[in-house]
């Protein structure tokens, strides 16, 4: 609401509206020749296509669909099973003192791990905290992408870009928190069939920018399928909880600094009680966050 905005924001909104009005209009309507399902030779060249296949720009954490397969239908392969496709080697390496992330996040020191993808440099993984539906929750992170997790093992799938992950020139398709016993992960859906041996419970595949479906399958050493992961259609959020409702009522200015409140509470608690009190401090920060939200209304 404009009335609640300060002058810089009012100026910005007004400038954007007027500048947007100067944008060019579409020169033509969609025609069959634009349809990418037609052979490419029939399509008109477009300037951006070549560049678009380079490094993508933003990290993407999507809804994760991981399916653990443990049913009797699982087919077991001979013991010397090796997935088909091209192996992308991964090397465990020492983590940095500080994960690559801006703003710096409070990090569970014991959670930090790192791997090296050839030609891509070092990729950090770690556990941090964030706000989710009005609560302070633990999140599994790679640089530029975090997702809340429940249960004892941080696990998520992320596609991080070269801009965000700070590791090199390629986007990385990452799966952390692999099931115990995972010996190989095969990635399907890109231009090539790739596979990797996990390190530190994770895999990281360099891939081209592609929003299409990518599926990964985790196998044990004998070739039994342990789990699959893919980009899933976003699931509907459950009903609004009282805490989430409270959060939604906060003015925008308060939401803007909520992360600082959580960060400050976590750092204060960890300084007083030590890194081993991480789990307790998440609870402390959650309680403090509730009090703070109530004070903002």
């Amino acid at each position: 609401m404009t009335v609640a905005l300060n002058r810089a924001e009012v100026r910005l909104r007004s400038a954007l509206r007027e500048f947007a009005a100067l944008a060019p209009r579409a020169e033509s309507q969609w025609t069959d020749s634009d349809d990418p399902r037609r052979p490419s030779a029939e399509r008109p060249p477009r300037r951006l296509v070549a560049g678009a296949l380079g490094a993508a720009a933003l990290a993407l954490t999507g809804a994760l669909l991981v399916t653990h397969d443990a049913g009797p239908w699982t087919m077991r392969s001979p013991p010397l099973f090796v997935p088909t496709g091209v192996e992308v080697p991964l090397t465990a390496t020492a983590p940095d003192d500080r994960p690559w992330e801006q703003p710096p996040l409070v990090v569970n020191a014991g959670s930090m791990a790192a791997v090296t993808v050839p030609g891509q440099g070092r990729l950090m993984t770690y556990v941090s905290v964030g706000e989710y539906r009005g609560h302070v929750v633990q999140e599994s992170c790679v640089p530029g992408a975090c997702a809340p997790f429940s249960g004892p093992r941080p696990s998520f799938v992320a596609l991080t870009s070269s801009v965000e992950n700070g590791t090199g020139s390629s986007n990385l398709w990452i799966w952390t928190g692999l099931p115990d016993g995972t010996a190989f992960v095969q990635l399907q859906g890109t231009n090539r069939l790739l596979w990797q041996r996990p390190e530190s419970g994770m895999v990281a595949f360099p891939i081209d920018f592609e929003l299409g479906r990518i599926d990964a399958v985790a196998f044990d050493a004998a070739g039994a399928q342990l789990a699959t992961a893919s980009w899933a259609t976003r699931t509907e959020e459950p009903d609004v909880t009282p805490r989430e409702g409270l959060y939604r009522q906060l003015p925008q200015a308060a939401k803007d600094v909520a992360w600082q409140v959580i960060d400050t509470e976590m750092r204060s608690c960890l300084a007083a009680r030590g890194d081993e009190a991480w789990d307790d401090c998440v609870g402390v920060a959650d309680d403090a966050f509730l009090v703070w939200m109530q004070s903002q209304l």
């Binding site: 500048f19 992408a145 600094v257």
Partner: protein, 171 residues
């Protein structure tokens, strides 16, 4: 110029069954978003067209076409930002004549252009597209809390830069 709600999800749902109708309904808004994200880039139309091309491949399986389009546009513009020098980015803004845009708006947009891409994208999506933070987070592929910190820092910088306290809408 009549301007509907930027990349409105409800409108997209109605058009989902027909990609061409979806294209017709949203192409101009998509160009505007690309235009703003690239600070008046001359290829905003190409970027928007490329976004639709990519989307066409998966359109039948996309549940939220609007969100998909928005995310693709934000990414494509980021790629362009990566490949272009900052000075080149300003060319689009400079190409707009002073008669087209008041000096205060030009100054505001120049400061906006000087921001890092993610900060600029957050401000464009929040203050032009009126997108809530969780939608912006989806488009940028970051956490909602990161959106807030990006916005907070971007606005702090803008406030500092915009020492002139003229306020067009308060007059």
């Amino acid at each position: 110029m009549a301007e509907g709600p930027p990349l409105d999800d409800v409108a997209f749902d109605a058009a989902k069954a027909d990609f061409v109708a979806f294209y017709r309904a949203q192409i101009d808004q998509a160009i505007r978003l690309a235009w703003l994200l690239t600070s008046g880039g001359a290829d905003a139309g190409d970027i928007a067209q490329e976004a639709f091309l990519r989307m066409r491949k998966h359109f039948d399986h996309v549940r939220h076409p609007n969100a998909y389009l928005r995310t693709t546009l934000v990414r494509l513009c980021a790629e362009r930002h990566r490949s272009a020098e900052r000075e080149q980015l300003r060319l689009g803004l400079m190409a707009v004549t002073e008669s087209d845009l008041p000096a205060t708006h030009r100054e505001t947009l120049e400061h906006l252009t000087a921001l890092p891409y993610r900060q600029r994208a957050v401000l464009v999506l929040r203050y032009w597209a009126d997108a809530p933070d969780d939608v912006i987070a989806d488009a940028l592929g970051v956490r909602t809390v990161t959106v807030r910190s990006l916005a907070s820092r971007a606005l702090a910088r803008l406030r500092k830069e915009l020492t002139d306290d003229r306020c067009p809408e308060s007059r």
